[in-house]
């Protein structure tokens, strides 16, 4: 059940420069694990040591912030578009 994941610039070093990758998972938690399997090191950037999404990272499913859905348990279906967006923009 592939979904599309849009990758922000600071994480593209893990995806060999790709701004969008395909990944699998029935929910966000599984999706992050799948990303980690294919792009080792990426999970640590997205999640803190307890496995929660870092505060300065926002994850959107079809444009909706998962914090306002079911967070890591937010269910995914085929064709969903996921965006990982740094909560802020560096540089003034």
């Amino acid at each position: 059940m592939p979904v599309r994941v849009r990758v922000p610039t600071p994480l593209r070093k893990f995806t060999q420069g790709a701004d969008e990758v395909s990944a699998q998972g029935t929910n966000i938690k599984a999706l992050v694990e799948d990303l980690e399997k294919n792009f080792p090191g990426i999970k640590e950037r997205i999640c803190d040591e307890t496995g929660k999404i870092r505060r300065f990272v926002n994850v959107y499913v079809n444009g909706d912030d998962i914090r306002f859905l079911q967070n890591l348990e937010t269910a995914l279906k085929e064709g969903d578009s996921i965006s990982i967006v740094p909560a802020i923009a560096g540089g003034r």
Binding site: R6, V7, P8, T9, P10, L11, K13, D19, R45, R54, R55, F56, V57, N58, R67, S83, I84, V85, P86, A87, I88, A89, G90, G91, R92
Partner: protein, 333 residues
């Protein structure tokens, strides 16, 4: 927490008459220097820490200084004429400064801003009447830089682009104002200047002035510890478009700061010093205290680029009491 009466001053400072000015632009610069007294507890008596409160600028940030200087130079050289629109990319504070200055001087202003900057910043720019163009949030501030370049290329005759990342007037503003103010406010005693890198303008310009006054003053930069960070306004240089005004060879040292440490310092600054600031100030304070702990006799000065009211809607403040409760606040530096 400070003891209830420990910092109560019964005798007021002999104060000067508050400034009377002709324009809001006359209020840019000459910001107060605050001594940090609570967070420095435990440091040797000979180590003093000060912060320049740049939130007192009329646009609410340090960026007023550079923006004003760049606009003045544009007018002086004839590059900025009344028919031109001021265009630049910004993740917020420079945008606010340009919008404010443009409205006072009668110029139209258009700003390219990553869609993920804090809502308050966009609202403030809008309130000054400037036009906001959103760039892809996934591309961060570099995406805004690129989109801004494209807009300019399509219509070069229409715009004046201050170009804060490459305009020498950006560091020059700090060379002419921030540096002398700090030198004077510390009565020439400053030994270390610590500041975050956004464009590099503050650290480069201020650093140059201070080194000229006293070459033994150390200039230390603060930067996010990783490309993916939550320190709005700061740049992780190794993974960014390096600004032309930034000269790493003029620095004595760089201190990386983790987002979580900077956030915790923001909470401590509001709770213990009564100063509500933004994330970049938290990073600056963290790095300054880290450095201060290694010194026995020093006068350290850092810059708090803005106050914190622009960030109340951001993730910085989401669930902060819970994080305090689990003890994250009392980290060791």
């Amino acid at each position: 927490m400070a003891q209830a009466t420990s910092s109560l001053r019964l005798v007021p400072y002999p104060s000067l008459e508050p400034k009377r000015v002709e324009s809001v632009l006359d209020l840019i610069g000459e910001t107060p220097l605050l001594e940090i007294r609570q967070l420095t507890e435990g440091l040797p008596a000979g180590v003093r820490v000060f912060a320049k409160l740049e939130g007192f600028n009329p646009g609410g940030s340090v960026k007023d200084r550079a923006a004003l200087r760049m606009i003045q130079e544009g007018i002086r050289t004839g590059k900025l004429t009344p028919d031109k629109t001021i265009l630049d990319s910004s993740s917020g504070n420079t945008g606010i400064a340009l919008a404010l200055i443009g409205c006072v001087l009668g110029f139209r202003v258009e700003l390219v801003i990553p869609a993920n900057v804090s809502r308050e910043r966009k609202q403030i720019i809008d309130a000054y009447g400037a036009k906001v163009i959103h760039s892809d949030p996934l591309e961060g501030s570099d995406g805004a830089i690129r989109l801004c370049r494209k807009i300019l290329e399509e219509n070069p005759g229409r715009y004046f682009k201050p170009d804060q990342y490459f305009n020498p007037m950006n560091p020059q503003a700090h060379y002419e104002t921030m540096g002398p103010e700090i030198y004077r406010q510390t009565r020439r005693k400053i030994t270390h200047f610590v500041a975050g890198i956004g464009t590099g303008g503050t650290i480069t310009g201020t650093g140059r002035y201070l080194k000229e006054m006293n070459p033994s003053i150390k200039i230390i930069a603060v930067e996010p510890d990783d490309a993916l960070h939550g320190l709005e306004g700061l740049k992780h240089m190794a993974s960014s478009i390096v600004p032309g005004v930034y000269h790493e060879d003029e620095l004595d040292d760089k201190i990386p700061v983790a987002t979580e440490d900077a956030y915790a310092m923001v909470y401590r600054l509001s709770q213990e010093e009564g100063v509500l600031v933004g994330q970049s100030s938290g990073a600056a304070m963290f790095a300054t205290l880290k450095l201060a702990r290694r010194l026995r006799s020093a006068t350290l000065v850092t810059v708090f680029p803005d106050f914190g009211d622009k960030y109340l809607s951001t993730n910085l403040w989401v669930g902060w009491r819970d994080r305090m409760a689990v003890g994250n606040l009392k980290f060791s530096i």
